[in-house]
Symmetry: C2
Subunit: 714 residues, 2 copies
């Protein structure tokens, strides 16, 4: 009767279910919830297909449901098990074996997978060594203590940061919290210099590549990064193998390539790394980090931090180790010795095409990265196995005559973990084709999990809501939308903004292809460690592969919707409204005397033009599409593709020409998190009215172009 165990109470409205056009359906996906028979509840899933005439909608919904029924969790479980056997680290034999496996499996489904190889300059670790040299001498463990008998243990890469320069440094330690600019400013305020020191920071709060960049700027000679138990270890819950949180020996590997400057091969920005590509001298590649940097576990960080002297670290800098953290310098000295080769290595993307019947040149691209740090059953075999499953099912359906109107391209990207290598090189390689014909890009990075989440351009918001209403959330048996809605506590569940950190980056930010990233998250802290493995997936993250299957259904159905729509379901009036709202929010905080009203007015004008176009589209398809309307539709769809492209500037953002999109970019000091309206935000941050004026004008230009495109359809 203890009240301690009574559940916390959370009660929110179940959404407006049964919204829109509801089509009777007998399709029921098996639910993980025992003993609830969902046959009775299929009507709770609503069926609406924006962009389709009533007649075609029937065909489409049948198409989607046939697809969804053929997606099998057993198939996903098998892929997951087989691919988790070996590490798929880019450039490794296990990675190659996994390419062969995927190709073999996809061929079995009647598909013709292609392996696209690029030759990318990358780091290859030979020996990683970290030694505490004072107050006592101690060699640190740089790899997990895996149980004896772990298969393919020799293939497990030690904890290291891809693209760290090689080198040996020894110095006193200074603790800099998360290594954000504000953390270094706090040190400066206290008169503590990191010059000629090794900085130790904890993971979290920003992209890890930002940390050594900030430290290097201030004269540090090296960096250690560790995972603090307060962030993803024992303070959060039981650690692996008892629970999903990070144990004392687990190391977060990860790239520190400055992807916020540009991702992909550091020597070929903007161009594919073909064998004969023109390459920069590495000394001129400004995405390459400059100081030796390497990650350690909290079990190993402990003795370093505990021995430190100097001032007590501020309250918010204290972590979960059992002592008061000090800033240093003093007492603890460390030697970092990194023997890392740099060479060109192959990056192998696996690409499959399901040719379109009606508009074969137009493409909907689905992708997930197929490389991993270690086993990577979660990151990102969960996304890649789902991609394979979608391909398998579309392949089976093609044999029976189901063919999409537009081509669906499915991709397994290699080298994502090192810096989005495979997707960037492919996107650069296919720039012309994609710019002309890519309808959308859908990304999956982390599909095993329990709680749905999405990030997307605002024009895709309604489509995400629509599709999530049509797939059952296996945990709850309600639609994914309603489950998401109920957990969100908002009137509409929030869709994130696209920053960086996964393979949508080249599509949206370099090419202006409308992008969407969907997946399922879970509580846990095994990220980039040797414990992101099959056991953790099957016991904690997605037992039964139910969410793998739901994710594959969701993404496959979204792709089919985009591939077959008579009017591609992009709602740019939402996009323009969001841009306007973001502008108004920035303007509210002061504009350095610069008048932002013209650009705000321009966003408003785009909004009106886009809304008019949407109304036109709705009118055309309302009573079925006649032959003579086909030409109108083609123009309309072309305008829909074009509006996102209109938001690019060929010269890119100031200081980072690769990032061409004027609305979305990763933050320069966050790395992952999106910085919307980057030029304006950076000018405001820099207190630079001239730059702000220029940024506003530039944004106004792209918005005007989009509005003009919307208006151009007569």
């Amino acid at each position: 009767m203890s009240k301690r165990k009574s559940a916390s109470l959370c009660a929110r409205k179940v959404s407006s279910l049964l919204l829109g056009l509801t089509v009777a359906s007998t399709l029921v996906f098996t639910s993980a919830v025992p003993s609830l028979t969902y046959a009775a509840s299929a009507t709770a899933l609503s069926k609406t297909a924006t962009g389709f005439s009533a007649e075609k909608a029937d065909w489409q919904l049948e198409y989607e449901q046939t697809f969804a029924q053929l997606v099998k969790k057993e198939s996903l479980a098998r892929y997951s098990k087989d691919l988790s056997e070996r590490s798929s680290l880019v450039g490794s034999p296990g990675n190659e074996a996994n390419v062969e496996y995927a190709v073999r499996e996809l061929k079995k489904a009647g598909l013709q997978p292609e392996v696209k190889t690029y030759h990318v300059y990358m780091s290859v670790p030979k020996k990683i060594s970290v030694t505490q040299t004072y107050p006592q001498k101690r060699e640190l463990q740089v790899i997990e203590k895996l149980p004896k008998g772990t298969k393919h243990a020799n293939e497990i890469v030690p904890g290291y940061n891809a693209y760290s320069p090689a080198g040996e440094v020894e110095a006193e330690l200074v603790y800099a919290n998360y290594g954000r600019p504000e953390d270094f400013e706090e040190l400066e305020k206290r008169g503590i210099s990191v010059k000629d020191k090794i900085v130790i920071t904890r993971y979290g709060a920003n992209f890890r590549g930002v940390k050594p960049e900030q430290a290097a700027k201030r004269g540090a000679v090296g960096m250690l990064m560790y995972s603090d138990p307060a962030d993803d270890g024992y303070i959060k819950g039981l650690v692996y193998p008892d629970g999903p949180w990070r144990p004392a020996d687990a190391i977060q590997r990860g790239s520190i390539l400055y992807i916020f400057r540009y991702p992909g091969d550091p020597l070929t920005p903007g161009e594919p790394s073909t064998p004969d590509a023109k390459r920069l001298d590495p000394a001129d590649a400004d995405s390459l980090p400059t100081i030796p940097t390497t990650p350690i576990s909290y079990g190993e960080a402990r003795s370093l931090l505990e021995a430190m002297e100097g001032e007590e670290a501020p309250e918010s800098w204290q972590g979960g180790l059992p002592f008061t953290y000090k800033i240093g310098p003093g007492q603890t000295r460390v030697k970092i010795s990194l023997d890392i080769d740099y060479k060109q290595q192959p990056v192998n993307d696996v690409i499959v095409r399901i040719p379109g019947a009606k508009y074969p040149e137009q493409m909907v691209v689905i992708g997930a990265h197929r490389d991993t740090w270690v086993k990577g059953t979660s990151d990102d075999l969960s996304g890649w196995t789902a991609t394979m499953e979608i391909a398998r099912v579309l392949g089976e359906m093609a044999k029976k005559g189901w063919q999409p109107d537009r081509t669906i391209v499915l991709a397994g990207w290699d080298g994502e973990e090192y810096g989005l290598l495979g997707s960037v090189e492919w996107a650069e390689d296919e720039r012309e084709e994609l710019t002309k014909n890519a309808v959308a890009y859908i990304n999956m990075d982390g599909l095993g999990g329990q709680f749905f989440g999405a990030s997307a351009v605002p024009s895709l918001k309604q489509l995400v809501y629509e599709i999530t209403k049509e797939v059952t959330e296996p945990r709850s048996g309600m639609s994914i939308y309603d489950d998401w809605y109920l957990r969100s506590g908002r009137k509409e569940p929030a869709i994130g903004k696209l920053g960086s950190g996964s393979d949508y980056t080249p599509f949206i930010q370099h090419l202006g292809v409308p992008s969407l990233d969907m997946g399922f998250g879970a509580a846990g802290g095994l990220y980039h460690s040797a414990y992101d493995n099959l056991d953790a997936m099957e016991r904690f993250t997605d037992p039964g592969y139910e969410h793998h299957a739901a994710g594959a259904r969701l993404v496959g159905m979204t792709a089919l919707r985009l591939a077959n729509a008579e009017v591609i379901p992009f709602k740019y009036s939402d996009y323009a409204a969001d841009v306007r709202a973001m502008l108004e929010e920035l303007a509210d905080k002061g504009t350095l005397g610069v008048d932002l009203s013209p650009v705000i007015a321009q966003a408003q004008e785009w909004q009106a033009a886009a809304a008019a176009l949407e109304e036109k589209a709705a009118n055309i398809i309302e009573d079925g599409v006649t032959e003579e309307e086909y030409g109108d539709l083609a123009k309309l769809n072309a305008a829909l593709l074009q509006q996102e492209r209109d938001l690019l500037k060929p010269e890119g953002l100031s200081g980072r020409p690769w990032y061409k999109h004027q609305v979305w970019a990763p933050g320069l000091t966050t790395g992952y998190a999106a910085q919307p309206l980057p030029a304006i935000a950076e000018a405001l941050q820099a207190n630079d009215p001239a730059a702000l004026q220029k940024a506003a004008e530039k944004l106004k230009e792209v918005l005007a172009k989009a509005a003009e495109t919307a208006r151009s359809v007569k």
Copy 2:
């Protein structure tokens, strides 16, 4: 590299570790965190013993550490496994078998357990039946669908509410959210009557007994309660057996006895249920519920709720089932048919004493309930096995000559789940002894888990902080205090107020024995279902029994501290300050013209008197206690015991004479949650200045008495 998986960031200050008197120690409890060697960190645990002279503190800390080292998780695991074999439902054969097991085990440790039997009027379910009679006829499942081969499955009691009256009712359903007064007021506002209806409510937000009482008041003829998946089911996470959340067939059993009026045998309020006790006519027992009430699972609630008509329920009433909840009445009819016997049944408390050497008459009582609903591995075998382990270790230590100064009493309460039966009857039975000599009561209800929490009278706050600094949190390897602190986000982790819902109630609220409830919570929703079992404990709640062991150490050490202190470590200046703060908070919201300043001043006066007494105590023991000071100490300790007793009024609270404490009571419409200063709060709520005036005077009297007691020590 997906950012979805990067951990949420929580960074707070690690507390002032190493506070106070630090004693070197070689004691290290094995930690669940692999590969962190905690030998190096033993100094992170601080050792302070308030109430002990320096010389005696050394002996005490050695005593505690010897105790702590002897507590074994293996022993706890064995008890847990053995006792989880059968159900320990009060009055059942499994319960009796488990008494015999405990007695046998405790005797092995050289102890002399006593079984105290009371004869309590209670409900015995014969047949529970719920039928949907319209729009379709359907018999509902009233027990979990356990896998074939489940051992002792015939002993599993169906889902039922203890103390529901027997009877058969059939009526239309009305949905009333959580069944709180405000929920019924919302119905009234909408003109929806529950008269002659069956009310369906969800579990949560209050003690379940409040729900049928509120419904009965308004003329309802029956009640169904179900666990909504938004509260502790699939919306929260994976359900059992995939995860720890409530599956569709799991039923929350539970008593609906009106324990907020008085707990224990409904026929013998205030007196023990001895065979010859004077008993009320059940018709006169105002703790007995009046309308047939029974619980169902969400798998079964679904078809009832889904078929309902009438208005849409408000936003905050919507739960996690996949449709819009309606209020009714209309469409759904239900028949509840409860064949429940009422008879006297035995309630068997297991009591063990470790006699004190110096003050054998003074008692520190430790207790946990040994009855369960089904297997109850978490609720509350976790607490009871820890009680047994503390007893076992103290028994072993006694053989080697370690004897506490005061007597330690360890109790396994029976019938807690039905309404605190065993603890209430024993406390009533031992009233005289306890009133005179009980130093404190320490309760454990839910010890298996991962996150520490405590509720206590304010005089025990410092002791809780002190002891939690001395025991290692197995999840994190830091002290329990620091782990708790780090998670709390406050300057001091909060200690809860004592309401009701577990066995501390008779001690604090009926007898004025300073009480403390400690344990470890965990995420999950298997509460009172057949799935609170060994498997769930060992896979999700406390793998390895590390927290069972930490809890046993913590409680045992607290008891030893209280048993051996030269000055019992109660800080009444904290208590008085809290009372004053609660009064000021109430006064800030308006006092109906009544002047509360005299009672506030009285609290302040008590605070000063208590602080003076604490200073006196510190002075006495500062340089060691001399023979001639023993008399002073005895008086001082008597005054410390007395101050809590001073807060009682023999006539009790208005309308509920059993509840004698003037500062703490369970809320009349919450049932579990504490209602501090109940008379004043209720008068304010009722807008009754005369009652408020009277309540303030009464409170002033008890505070004056406590102040006088504090001052009485010369």
